[in-house]
Amino acid sequence: MNVTLARLRHALLRMIVRPRLDLPLALALLLLAGVGLLTLTSAADLEVHVIVAQATRFVLGALLLLAVSRVPPVRLRSLTPWLYAISTLLLVVVAALGEGRGAHRWLNLGVLRFQPSELLKLTMPMMVAWYLAQRPLPPRWRDMAVVGLLIAVPAVLIAKQPDLGTALLVAAAGVFALFLSGLAWWRIGVLFGSLVLALPIAWHSRFIHQYQRDRVLTLLHPESDPLGTGWHIIQSEIAVGSGGWFGKGWHQGTQSRLEFLPEHTTDFIFAVFAEEFGLIGVILLVALYAFIIGRCLWIAVNARDTYSRLLGGALAMSFFVYVMVNGGMITGILPVVGVPLPLVSYGGTSAVSLLTGFGVLMSIHAHRKLVDSRA
């Protein structure tokens, strides 16, 4: 008993005292979390409990990151099919008896409520990487079909909740793994072409909710419905545009402080940031994101095996999707879908799952030097 405890303590101490981290990435994440808390403090109008809650999640996420970073990719790889199966199963459970306002996204485990779809953000690229890593690359049509199925089942379940934003992120993670596996460009062309052709059919299908259609239509003409769906876009653009070069200053953004900007602590927090710190702040923040993505790709490139490479690369590139979709949404060039700005938007599961993902990348980085013949 004592021995077990002592080992656990030892492991924890090692984890914190001698973390296996990529220092530039860790520092960049720390900086990002700092910027996130600063922005949230303003967006939440100095409400202490919101900031404390978010900081707590960051600490929890950081601990998870440290813990995951010590798990060798080999171990992750062996667990992958199980993790994928379990998370997909949970999605089915949620579809059956989940709870949530309007959308069935949440699973209540008594002590904590969480969205199983968040798990897929991690298990999806793991699964695709797992499958492709044992296939001859570049993949052929058959592999593509299998990967397509692996992506489609959870993505459709999530989209049905309905949570188009998360479905998009989950699907993107799988698609990126496929892209990084060296899929031939002509195949990519065929895929893309058929997607474009399928778009009008999907648009009219029952699969797309009317409100989702409205959001896209509203994007094209936000002024047509200034108090309904267009309100978000209009108010967000006003917030961003009125920020100018240098912004209105921290906690001086009138759009968020006076609550003209809806969802200003969560999905639209980027607009708060843009209003208060201006274009200069936006450029610096986007540069920080670009650096994080680049660093993650660099880690992936230097990974020791195909599984780690594909997984790391997919995680890095899906991180980009967050930034792009959220940024596009608040500036009115993409429809309003619920995608948070990573590590800035208020919200528990997102921060924790993101940091866990970075934990995986840290682990890939930490284990790159080990020679492993099983690649």
Binding site: G244, R309, V323
Partner: protein, 628 residues
């Protein structure tokens, strides 16, 4: 065909991955640059546009309507003020279902059909974010009930405001007029800047005449609001400039005395200070409560006022049209002297009947059989018709009209009140223009005793009387005495009324006429004899009783009883005092009075008594009613 199983090639896979990763990163950087370009477009290129819209979001311009100026009488008695009140206002864009909201609200706070109609009218005119008043003048009970239920009615609020109040009620309604809700026509004509936030405007009387003085200038507040339009802080405040306080020449005690003297009988009285044209009293009976109009009069109340046979809404002093009857005689007599047609000593034989040469139609004296030979003074004193029939004939209608016109007959007196009637000064020109008919000599005869086409308003008569009393100096009657920029500020006297220089050429002539008028009150045979009993100054007066004659025949209409006659007759009385140095001129018209001397004159005396009392003169009420 042999299909070679693909083999894993770690090195190639690594190289392929590296290439894909950097291509992917390049695409990512490209996409992020595109995103930044969008930010540049919004934050730099369109920056100004969005700054404007952000400010439009958060800053509301709230107009602060100016408190309306107060109105006092000449001694500082409050006639119109503002009292705090509360009204319900609705911001249309904050109400999801207007119809349902109004129905539910009506169960909490009573809303009349009139309120709803007015609200809908205004709703159609206003922008959706501007609040529209729904109910004025909430009671404390209603405010409390609404406060409990407020959460059910987003976009509806109780708003304090200043409500016009007339503490004297109906006593001054025909002087002050009233304020009411600004209607569509007024809205179109008013300066929107000046009336921003103001609900009411002077509709009649002084309130309308001096609207520009009373209104003031609105201030404003720039208020920062949140998305619920809740004001958070005031960014800038410019206080309103209150309207100017007005002091009227009216003396509330004279007004009171005059009104009381009518005892509810329809009629009008006007008192003017001949020395300066200041109106001391302007009474029209019956009257109405102007407070009813302030918050929007109900249909029922309004209909009751309109349907009242005594027409309380009619301002009889300004717009009541009456044949002047014998009250014109002093002016005519003066004309006879001034035009050289008569000397004071010339006499006329009154036989009771007067005939034009070659006509059978007779013109009657008041007394059967006449009063015998009379000179001018007796003619005025006893109101001898024959004397004036002849005088009018000698003068001729053209000279008569010109002369009487100098006293202001036939045109508005120029008082500072809106909607004054002109009356009719008969002349061939007027008759041609009105009826396209020639003038007949007989019409000249009856014009000499104020009958026929003659129509005057009590105010016109008072104006003429004041002109007579002041020896031919015609001053437009004035109600505004002084104005004041705020409580305690110095009173700024109003500019004097327009004056035309005296047209009198011989002062002794005027004194002769005044002597006749003094005889009316003090002579043995005066038509208002006894009226001056106990009064400290000599009073000069003249009675008038219009429409004594049947219109259709020249005979006494013996079929009518006295009461019926009384109902048809207008009793008039004009007087000024002190006779030698007039300081007050009073005209009284009583619609249902039988005789000028007995019915109208006592009302004038009551006003004079109040005037004398105010000057510390012995208070000796009239004890003996003068005979008719």
């Amino acid at each position: 065909m042999l299909r070679r199983p693909a083999l894993k090639d770690p090195r190639r896979e690594h190289a392929s991955f590296r290439a894909r990763a950097w291509i992917g990163y390049a695409l990512i950087l490209l996409a992020l640059s595109g995103l930044l370009a969008r930010f540049f477009w919004l934050q730099v290129v369109q920056h100004q546009e969005f700054v404007t819209r952000a400010n439009a979001n958060r800053i509301r311009l709230v107009y602060l309507p100016p408190p309306r100026g107060l109105i006092y009488d000449r001694n500082g008695v409050l006639l119109a003020d503002n009292v705090p009140a509360y009204r319900l206002e609705v911001v249309p864009e904050r109400v999801p279902h207007m119809q349902a909201m109004l129905q539910q609200l009506a169960q909490v706070v009573p809303l009349s059909a009139e309120d709803l109609r007015r609200f809908r009218d205004e709703l159609a005119q206003q922008r959706p974010f501007q609040s529209v008043p729904l109910r004025l003048k909430l009671s404390e009970d209603e405010i409390a009930r609404f406060a409990i239920n407020q959460w059910r009615f987003p976009g509806v609020a109780v708003v304090p405001y200043l409500m016009r109040n007339y503490p004297q009620g109906k006593l001054f309604a025909h002087v002050l007029g009233y304020v009411g809700r600004i209607d569509e026509n007024e809205q179109a004509r008013l300066d929107p800047e000046l009336y921003a936030g103001t609900l009411q405007i002077g509709k009649s009387g002084i309130e309308r005449q001096y609207e520009t003085l009373l209104h003031g200038k609105p201030g404003y507040e720039l208020v920062e609001v949140n998305v619920d339009q809740r004001p958070l802080r005031v960014l800038e405040r410019v206080p309103p400039t209150p309207g100017r306080n007005l002091y009227l020449s009216i003396d509330a005690r004279l007004q009171q005395a005059g009104e009381a003297a009518f005892a509810g009988r329809p009629g009008a009285a006007v008192a003017i200070d001949p020395r300066n044209g200041q109106v001391l009293a302007l009474v029209s009976v019956p009257s109405y409560d102007p407070n009813l109009f302030v918050s929007g009069i109900s249909d029922a109340d309004y209909r009751a006022l309109l349907d009242d046979p005594d027409k309380p809404l009619l301002n009889r002093a300004l717009r009541g049209l009456y044949p002047p009857g014998s009250t014109v005689k002093p002016y005519l007599a003066l004309g006879g002297l001034e035009l050289g047609l008569r000397t004071p000593q010339d006499t006329v034989d009154s036989t009771g009947e007067f005939y034009l040469p070659g006509q059978k139609r007779g013109y009657r004296d008041d007394q059967r059989g006449g009063v015998g030979r009379v000179a001018m003074v007796q003619a005025i004193e006893q109101s001898v018709n024959t004397y004036f029939y002849k005088l009018a004939l000698d003068m001729g209608i053209d000279r008569l009209a010109t002369w009487m016109g100098r006293f202001g007959f036939g045109r508005p007196s120029g008082i500072d009140l809106p909607a004054e009637a002109s009356g009719v000064l008969p002349s061939p020109a007027w008759k041609r223009a009105t009826f396209h008919q020639p003038w007949y000599l007989g019409e000249t005869v009856i014009a000499g005793i104020g009958q026929g086409y003659w129509v005057v308003t009590p105010l016109q008569l008072a104006h003429a009387l004041a002109t007579l009393a002041d020896h031919g100096v015609a001053r437009a009657p004035r109600l505004l005495l002084a104005e004041q920029s705020g409580m305690g500020a110095p009173r700024v006297p109003a500019p004097p009324a327009p004056v035309t220089p005296s047209f009198a050429t011989s002062v002794p002539d005027w004194d002769t006429v005044v002597q006749g008028m003094v005889g009316v009150v003090n002579g043995d045979k005066g038509t208002a004899r006894g009226l001056g009993v106990g009064f400290p100054y000599p009073i000069a007066g003249k009675t008038g009783t219009a429409e004594r004659y049947s219109r259709t025949t020249s005979a006494y209409d013996t079929h009518l009883t006295n009461a019926q006659l009384a109902a048809r007759h207008r009793a008039l009385f004009e007087c000024f005092t002190p006779a030698a140095d007039p300081r007050i001129a009073v005209v009284v018209v009583l619609e249902h009075g039988a005789w000028g001397g007995s019915a109208a004159a006592p009302i004038a005396r009551r006003i004079l008594d109040a005037w004398a009392r105010e000057r510390g003169l012995p208070d000796t009420p009239l004890t003996q009613a003068p005979p008719g």
